[in-house]
Structures are given as C-alpha cells and as structure tokens.
C-alpha cells in the first residue's frame, strides 16, 4: 500500500503547538484522541483553511503545502472535500443547491449530472427541494457527504461526523458511513474522540495527544500493541498498571506489583528491560481475570497462575456485564485510586456466584493476560 497522504506539519495557535508527521495509504485514516489534541487543526491545515508554520503536505504526490518552498495552495484549489462537525450545510439553499455548490464552475450539463449522481448514490432522491432544517440528522449527514464527494475530491475530511447525533442513531449512521466510504473509495481522514467509531471506521488509527501523534497503527495492531502507557489510557484501556521487573527468562517475566510477584508470559517484547529492578507498565483486560469458585476444588497452580485475594469495594451494573472494583488484601495504597483491579464478569456469573452477597474473593490472572507496554 503506497502512501497517498504525506503530512509533516508544525502549527502554532496561541499556546498550543501541533507538531505531527504521519503518512497514510488508501482507505480511512482516523485521528483519534481527546478534545484539544490538535485533530481538527490538522484537518484545517489539510484543507488549507489554516496555514502551518512549517512542514509539508502532499496528497498523491501533489504538494499542497511546503513551507520551505513557500507553497500554500488555497483551499479553493485543493479539491479536498470537508465534512464539518455539525455538517455546515447552507441553510438558505435546497439539498440540490447544497450538493451542487462546489460545481459552479462546471458546464451546466456536467454539473447536473454530477449533482444527480451524488444525490442518487447517497440516497437523497426525493429530498432535492428540501432545506437542511427539514431534514433528519442522518439525511443531513448524507447531504454533507454528497456535497463533499460531488467535487470528486482527492481527499475527504470528516470532523466528528457522528457527534451531533443521538446514540442509537449514531450507531446506525456509523454503519451507513462505513458503507458510503467503502463505496466511494476516496482517501479519507476522519476525526473522532469515540474509540468505537475510530475502530470501526478506520483502517489506520493515529492516536493524538497534546498536539503530537503518540501512535500510528493499523487498527488491529493498535488494540494488541498500544505504543505506550499514555496511548493505552487514551484508548480507554482499564487496569493500566505499573510494576517492577524481577526476572526475565526466555519464556517468563516475573514482576512485582502491589507486593505480589506476578508471572507473565514473555511474548518477545523487545522493549522489555531485562535488568531486574526496572519499572514496567502493563495492562490487564478487565474481562480476563477469573474469580475462583469457593465450592470447587482448591486452585491448581498448573492452571491458575497469579492467585490474588481481594474484596469488592465498588461495582457497576453495565447491563450485560458487571464491573467489580477490587482492592487487594495487601497493605499500602491501591494501584488505581481506591481499588487495585477492575474485573468485568458476565451477568450470569455474577448471579451464580452470588457476588451481591459475598465481597471477598480469590481470583487468578492468566500469564498470557498480562500485556506489557513500551515505556
């Protein structure tokens, strides 16, 4: 996959500095991160609405911005389709006029053909004469997409396309958006702070924080291998923890956490410091630890590694599952505020084990469930 989009820019706005460099190929690149991390500013630089202080932007080898050579192609000439947050549809114009807005310089026949095609492909037939205020949220999104796509852009930018919508609709429109983007096959950059959205829509995810790209990864790699503790936190990982390495062998890593020695599988993470005493970050997915039944046979060390004891200090009913916040019986400050580990159990497990009556539990963390994070 060749790099179709090549971005390396530094833009300063007041006290905020955006300093990013990334490339992307075909498909959808998602800029994901908290608000104020520079995602929208990046889009504005790509569209030519903002001029970075330094750097270079190229799409398919066509240079749109190059500070060193004094190149700054104005937004009018970039052929970049921009779907704004809240869509920015022209309220005084009909759906057809909105979609045709970027085609004013085309011959009338060509303009009409392209407008009709965009209206047709986005399922807006029959709504041509309506005004934006007479449309539903989903229809507005499609008009904004049709307007941006009708100019046959070299690049499409979507700024939080679903954030203006109610939750159930958002889910449905996410699917719809995915279909539309797959149908048009235009390189796309999408901004979101919703990880589910980023994961579903993005082929590549760029994790933004404080004006920097913390990680650029194909979406599958992102969940398996977050680049750092801070990326794991931005991605919303729970149980991001810190320990100290005690021993590293070819297939095991022993680490100390909260006064306990945990044994983890060494999956060949080259970034692991081999020296004992080195600090290390790791995470444990809340659904991975296993509560040990009290009515069953005693735990078998061959199957149950890392057996810990703790009590539930808080819990939350998440509907299908229950989240239990456990505090270890160890002394010392808990790892995550007032608790050490979050464990998520299916609702039926919660009921079978009578978790509402019994707060004190033993649980085990499988060796393969401890994932190390590069520091």
């Amino acid at each position: 996959m060749s790099d179709r989009l090549d971005v390396a820019i530094r833009a300063i706005r007041g006290v905020f500095t955006l300093d990013v460099a990334w490339t992307a190929g075909d498909g959808v690149s998602v800029l994901f991160g908290p608000s104020g991390s520079g995602k929208t500013l990046t889009l504005q630089c790509l569209a030519g609405l903002m001029r970075p202080e330094a750097g270079r932007i190229a799409v398919d080898g066509r240079v749109l911005f190059d500070a060193a050579r004094g190149i700054h192609v104005p937004p009018q000439l970039r052929r970049v389709g921009y779907v704004f947050q809240g869509y920015a549809l022209f309220p005084h114009l009909s759906v057809r006029a909105n979609v045709a807005f970027g085609l004013r310089d085309h011959a009338r026949a060509d303009r009409d053909r392209r407008t009709s095609e965009a209206i047709e492909r986005l399922g807006l037939r029959g709504l041509e004469d309506r005004h934006p205020r007479e449309l539903s949220g989903g229809q507005r999104q499609r008009v904004a997409l049709a307007r941006a796509l009708a100019i046959e852009p070299a690049l499409v930018l979507l700024d939080e396309p679903l954030s203006a919508l109610d939750l159930p609709l958002r889910r449905a429109l996410r699917d719809e958006l995915q279909t539309i983007l797959a149908d048009w096959r235009v390189p796309t950059v999408l901004v979101t702070h919703d990880f589910a959205e980023a994961y579903q829509l993005g082929d590549r995810v760029l994790v933004y924080e404080e004006g920097r790209v913390r990680q650029s990864a194909l979406r599958g790699d992102l969940l398996r291998r977050p680049a750092s503790e801070s990326v794991a936190r931005i991605l919303g990982f729970r149980n991001v923890l810190r320990g100290v390495i005690r021993e590293v062998t070819a297939d095991h890593v022993r680490l100390e956490w909260r006064g306990q020695i945990l044994e983890a599988r060494n999956s060949g993470d080259t970034f692991l410091g081999v020296s004992a005493g080195a600090p290390v970050s790791f995470f444990v997915r809340p659904e991975d630890p296993r509560l040990l039944r009290k009515d069953g046979p005693p735990p078998n060390p061959a199957h149950h590694a890392n057996i810990l004891k703790g009590r539930v200090v808080r819990e939350a009913d998440l509907g299908v599952t229950r989240s239990l916040l456990l505090r270890l019986d160890e002394s010392g400050p808990p790892a995550q505020g007032d608790y050490d580990l979050e464990i998520e159990v299916p609702q039926f497990v919660y009921e079978v084990l009578n978790l509402d009556e019994d707060q004190h539990w033993e649980f085990s963390i499988h060796r393969g469930s401890i994932h190390f994070l590069p520091s």
Binding site: G48, A148, I151
Partner: protein, 221 residues
Amino acid sequence: MSPESLSALWLSVRVASVATLLNALVGIPLAFLLARKPFRLRGLVDLVISLPLVLPPTVTGYYLIVLLGRRGWLGAPLYALTGWSVTFTWYAAVVAAAVMALPLLVRTARAAIESVDRDLERAAFTLGHSEWRTAIEVTLPLARNGILAGLVLAFARALGEFGATLMLAGNIPGRTTTVPLAIYTAVQTGESAEALALVAALTAISCAVIFLAGRLGAATT
C-alpha cells in the same frame, strides 16, 4: 398641508432614501470588513464611524463643516476647482443624514455578519468559492435580516435627522428644509396646524417603514 410642507415632506423622503442608499453602498462592505477582515486601523475605523452615535448631532455637523465647508479640508479644494460647495444644498442634507445613520447600519449589519457560522464560509472555500463569492452567496444572504434591520434603522435615523443637517445644510425653505426642520420652524412661528400635519406625516411614514421591514424579515425566515 401647505406647499412648503409638502415640499419639505418630499425633500425628506428623497434625502432619507438617498442617504440610505449611500449607507447600503458604503455600510454593508464596511460592516463585512469589520466583521471578517482583521485589518490594521480596524479599531480606528470603528471609532470614527461610531462617533456620530455618541456625539451631539451639532458636533458632528460642526466636523462636517470643517471637512466639507467652503474653507474645509475637502471643501476648499473642491470650491477652488469647481466654484461649488456642498453646504446649504440638499446634498448637504443627504451627507449629514448619511453620516448620522451610518453607525446604526454598520453596527447592526456587523453583528448579523459575525453571527454567521464561520464553518459555512470555510465549507464554501473548500468547495471552490473565492472569498468574494462566499460573501455574496453565503455570508450576506444569511445575514440578510440583520442587514435589512440595519437599513430600516438607518432610514428612520436619516428621516429624523435635525442637528447635523441644520449645521451643514441650513434651513432654506424649499431647498434644505426637511420635515424635522419644518416642524421646528412651524412651532417657532406658531403654525401649529402645519406642525401637526407634518408630525402626523412623519409618524405615518415611520410606521410604514417598520411594517415593511417586519414583512421583509418574515419573508426570509
């Protein structure tokens, strides 16, 4: 109504209409620049056009004489060149009314333009529209109600202008005596019937303008 009063009425309508037209030509671009273009001296321009709002009209009139009078900064060269001076003509009444009305239009129109979502303009840019076309096709149409309201205010202000007009244009019956001046003169000379007729006429015109503005505003929303 006496011929003098009718002539004053006709003059007033003419003066206010031309002043409003001038305002539209100057004030709308000015409002756009103030709202959207951070140029140097923006603060100064804003101050100068807003001054007539706060200064007594006679003071504004005095400045206009300093500027346009036969010995004024602009008036003297003009007089030397053409032998003509704007003072004591109906043009002077137009200038006075226009200057007094301008801040009302500019402020109202500027607020309306500023309230247009900038993302709409940005969208127009990315769709290939120049700043000029974006202003004409997006910003100004969306600010239309505010601009209309500003024009109505400007017209009303121009129609009622008294002090600056008196200073620059004088009170020459049939030439520069607008309705407010005619009312003042009528009251001074005890012609209360004439005064009442003119007051009624001015009130009627003002009501008609407000009604019209309401209709225009309603038609666009």
